[in-house]
Symmetry: C2
Amino acid sequence: MPNTICAQDSSEAEAAELLQKQLIDSQTAMSLAEIFKALSDPTRLRLISLLTENEVCVHTLELVMGMTQSAVSHQLRYLRQLGIVRYRKEGRHVYYALDDEHVRMLFEQGLLHAKHR
Amino acid sequence: MPNTICAQDSSEAEAAELLQKQLIDSQTAMSLAEIFKALSDPTRLRLISLLTENEVCVHTLELVMGMTQSAVSHQLRYLRQLGIVRYRKEGRHVYYALDDEHVRMLFEQGLLHAKHR
DNA sequence: CTAACATATGAACATGTATTCATGGATAGA
DNA sequence: TCTATCCATGAATACATGTTCATATGTTAG
């Protein structure tokens, strides 16, 4: 049972003060949004599901996902630039794997949520 | 230390079979993406931070956030339609509050992640 | 060296999205 | 009743985003 806050009822300053403590600042909000945005696309989530327990080369991802090489590669770059996946070159293959335990936890916790609906 | 999977190295069918078990289906991916997308915008995250422990009317949210009433109301509708927040009308005021424990957990866990960078 | 393969990337395109603007409905107060 | 306030919403706009297309780089095989 949460507090009810309305600037009209009590003194406006008092209500604002209460809420300002809860409000996250813009920089934190943007940083947080960036993390969740990485997880907000079905293609990236499917890629992450493949990379959570395996190190997989791009071509194989392309086959299993049923997508073009270019689309896969673009999304991998996205995840790479956020530090969510790492890559390892070996000959002409490049192997990708998940490299962020926080993201792994968010992914798994979200999966529980999705099934729990 | 994850397995390395490449369709060229072992038999292609074997590698694909391994990965198909990991791959989440499209429907699950879309449902999951929907949840994370709700958390992928700084404005919505700031709203959620205000509504996690309080029930707040729209006008007060407008004041504390420093945004237009319309922008706040649009985002509240977005969260409402996903069942993330509930609302309660009382006279000419409408009070909103967070109404999804899973989202609350994802938000708080993400916040730890954001600060841990 | 040459051809085939694996991957990366810039540009173009179509689509999605957050905010603003304008407006309407509902309620309280004078 | 009349006005001010609170909230919702459709349309428009500017911007972000995911995929495709074309192409480039680097590596292996013949």
